[in-house]
């Protein structure tokens, strides 16, 4: 047990995976001497050598395609995409090759890749450095998509992702890289399990990645008004842990879903449909979403209006409770 930042917790998970299995290799841009632009791989090249922690030419499709070839030979490549918005040149290799090769070959060829993606906004960055592209990948059969929200989960989940025989898109909440927390390296849970991070009885608030701490803050604020919010950290976006989600929604009857990614066709839309399908007669109100707008990620001086925050979450909570003080919905 030690206190680590989320960034260091992923780094220590990578270290454990590199040490445990010599078929694990890290590939990415600036991950060697620099330790990655967020220092997640800090010190790993010095420790494991440039053959295991490889700086790659600046071509995302090339890096992913090379990782596919290495996987063909039995390696477990862990690819770092430097920023969310840089993943698109590698999109074809991910959705047309990585995702489909196991099915295409009738299960003969495994693609145990882990693709690490620092994602989301809130760091005052320029264009292409604050995006949330997870829904593209959750929509793609053959991929697993996960996101961590705290140092403990980050450490456990990166090791699980690397150990998984399926390809995993691993979304890291970049604005929480410096968040500290206790990490028990032996703590374990199933990779596709959601977690109830705060129990409540009135409203279920579903979040993942960078918005989990925001959701917890919202729950604390709501409790001051006597509203009990249950916060669920989804952790896995494909598959979704409906056992945990259903249990919560059946208890509260009201659900708010939040993510930074654009609302249209986002994970929230899938959740709203899935919950309505499974829990229709338990719902007291239509599921509400608090998401990014359907616009390109804005210039950083406007990002506070784009990013779901505590107040917008509480506004949606008011809506599902039918409270008159919702600013964006109906009045009771």
């Amino acid at each position: 047990m030690s206190e680590l930042t989320l960034s260091k917790a992923i780094g220590s998970g990578l270290r454990r995976s590199l040490a445990a299995d010599d078929r694990v290799v890290l590939m990415g841009e600036d991950i060697g001497k620099l330790g990655g632009v967020f220092r997640v791989t800090d010190g790993l090249q010095a420790e494991f050598g440039a053959d295991r922690v490889m700086d790659m030419p600046l071509a995302e499709s090339g890096i992913i395609g090379m990782a596919v070839g290495l996987a063909f030979r039995g390696y477990r490549p862990v690819v770092e995409i430097q920023f969310d918005g840089f993943i698109y040149p590698g999109f074809d290799q991910i959705v047309a090759q990585v995702a489909k090769l196991h099915a295409r070959t009738g299960g003969k060829v495994r693609m145990p890749l882990t693709i690490r993606v620092p994602f989301g906004g809130g760091i005052g960055a320029v264009e292409h450095h604050s995006e949330s592209p997870e829904a593209y990948f959750a929509h793609t059969a053959g991929l697993r998509v996960v996101s961590c929200s705290n140092p403990q989960d980050a450490h456990t989940m990166i090791r699980q992702a690397i150990a998984s025989d399926d390809p995993v898109l691993f979304f890291e909440p970049k604005r929480r890289y410096w968040m500290k927390g206790e990490v028990d390296e032996d703590y374990d849970f199933p990779l596709e399990s959601a977690r109830v991070v705060r129990e409540g009885t009135d409203v279920t608030l579903l979040a993942y990645g960078p918005l989990v701490p925001t959701a917890l803050d919202a729950a604390t604020a709501a409790s001051d008004e006597g509203i009990s919010i249950e916060v669920v950290d989804l952790r896995s976006l494909s598959p979704l842990d409906y056992d945990t989600i259903e249990a919560s929604v059946r208890k509260t009857g009201r659900v708010v879903i939040t993510h930074e990614a654009a609302e249209f066709g986002g994970v929230g839309a899938e959740l709203a449909a899935g919950i309505t399908d499974r829990c229709f007669f338990h719902l007291e109100a239509a599921p509400q979403r608090v998401a990014g707008f359907d616009i390109p990620y804005p210039p950083s001086r406007l990002e506070e209006h784009f990013l779901p925050d505590l107040d917008r979450m509480l506004d949606a909570v008011d809506r599902v409770l039918g409270r008159a003080n919702s600013l964006t919905g109906w009045t009771a």
């Binding site: 090339g62 063909f72 047309a96 070959t105 009738g106 299960g107 003969k108 697993r144 025989d165 598959p239």
Partner: protein, 368 residues
């Protein structure tokens, strides 16, 4: 626009052909001496050349049969290799068992040489499965349909060979159209940087569906590779002996730590892109006629002067293989509906498991 200019000059790349093309057997069946490449094929006696000729005949016969099977509704689609037999057989027969092929979709000749069962060759084109064989059993990945994507896989695989300390080589097959793809150019960057034992085997068959090679390149394609730091060679792709020689040279270079080689096998797609294509809309019949005179089989027939008995034996063997192929193809049954959900993931996925069980219940409901 440059497009219009190149369309008017579709043979720009070919102007260089006479100067730098490796050729050991010319279209008239004359054996040309080549002090550099002759040693690479010194062991290929007339007997072994006859065996290569037999391969060419067989893969052409399988190809012809496949087109017929498509016309009869037994295959959904087929991409004919007609005209490219020597490029595929000459290179594939140069490989070792432990080498690994990453191909495109037209490489039925390569697949045949790797020992892939005829029935497995037909599966994907019949539409009964996404691919036909276990890549590890034959040292050949299942075909990549996205143009050029497999060149990166080959390069990554080759890097893995270096890491594992083995002298196996990866070979990527692709066409002239693929050379415009980012992936192919990225693969060359990565191969050069990592000194990967990979062969980029480009079959320049002059066409990407209806687009002439002049739309992809205004200089010979092989000229690009040296800019990446990769040696390249242009070879007469219809000359099985020359293709064998240049492939062996590339293999030797790769096995001895010399890294990648780019081979441009200059050939011609004598048939349509696939059985769905209509080349009469774009192919100049005179150009096709000219290439018919460079046929890979005809020049070997002229050179080998096989006895009537031997020619008859090979023809009979070809008919036998074609018949086996037809029988195998027609024997493939449609898969069970619920196999839709198989192998999407290597480990259980709860969302997919739910879909599967619901569809299973639905199907059961239909039956009752």
């Amino acid at each position: 626009m440059s497009t219009a200019v190149s369309a008017k000059a579709p043979k720009v790349a070919l102007e260089f052909e006479s100067n730098d093309l490796v050729q050991l057997l010319d279209p008239d069946g004359r054996r040309l001496a080549d002090s550099h490449y002759d040693p690479f094929v010194a062991d290929i006696t007339d007997d072994r050349l006859t065996a290569l000729y037999e391969d060419l005949v067989l893969v052409r016969r399988i190809d012809t049969e496949a087109v017929a099977l498509q016309r009869q509704g037994e295959l959904a689609l087929w991409p004919p290799l007609l005209g490219q037999e020597a490029a595929q057989v000459g290179s594939a027969r140069a490989l070792r068992k432990d080498d690994f092929v990453f191909s495109s979709y037209r490489e039925s000749g390569v697949a045949f040489c790797r020992g892939i069962e005829l029935v497995d060759l037909a599966r994907a084109w019949r539409g009964t499965s996404a691919s036909g064989w276990d890549p590890y059993a034959v040292g050949m990945a299942t075909p990549a349909v996205i143009i050029g994507a497999q060149t990166l896989h080959a390069t990554g695989y080759a890097l893995g060979c270096v890491k594992d300390g083995v002298d196996s080589v990866a070979i990527a097959y692709f066409g002239d159209g693929a050379t415009s793809q980012g992936d192919v150019n990225e693969a060359m960057v990565f191969a050069a940087t990592f000194h990967a034992p990979v062969i980029f085997f480009c079959q320049n068959n002059q066409w990407a569906i209806s687009e002439p090679v002049s739309l992809q390149a205004v200089r010979p394609i092989a000229d690009r590779a040296p800019g990446f730091g990769i040696p390249s060679v242009r070879v007469d792709g219809n000359d099985v002996l020359a293709v064998t020689a240049v492939t062996r040279e590339a293999l030797e270079r790769a096995r001895s730590g010399g890294g990648a080689t780019f081979i441009e096998a200059v050939t011609y797609r004598m048939g349509p892109h696939t059985t769905s294509d209509d080349p009469s809309r774009y192919v100049d019949p005179l150009q096709r006629e000219e290439w018919a005179g460079k046929d890979p089989l005809a020049r070997l027939e002229k050179y080998l002067q096989l006895s009537e008995d031997e020619a008859a034996r090979i023809a009979a063997r070809a008919d036998e293989v074609a018949n086996d192929f037809r029988t195998a193809c027609k024997s493939i049954q449609d898969p069970e509906p619920l196999s839709l959900f198989d192998n999407v993931y290597a480990t259980p996925h709860s969302g997919l498991a739910r879909q599967r069980s619901r569809y299973a219940a639905y199907l059961e409901g239909l039956e009752s």
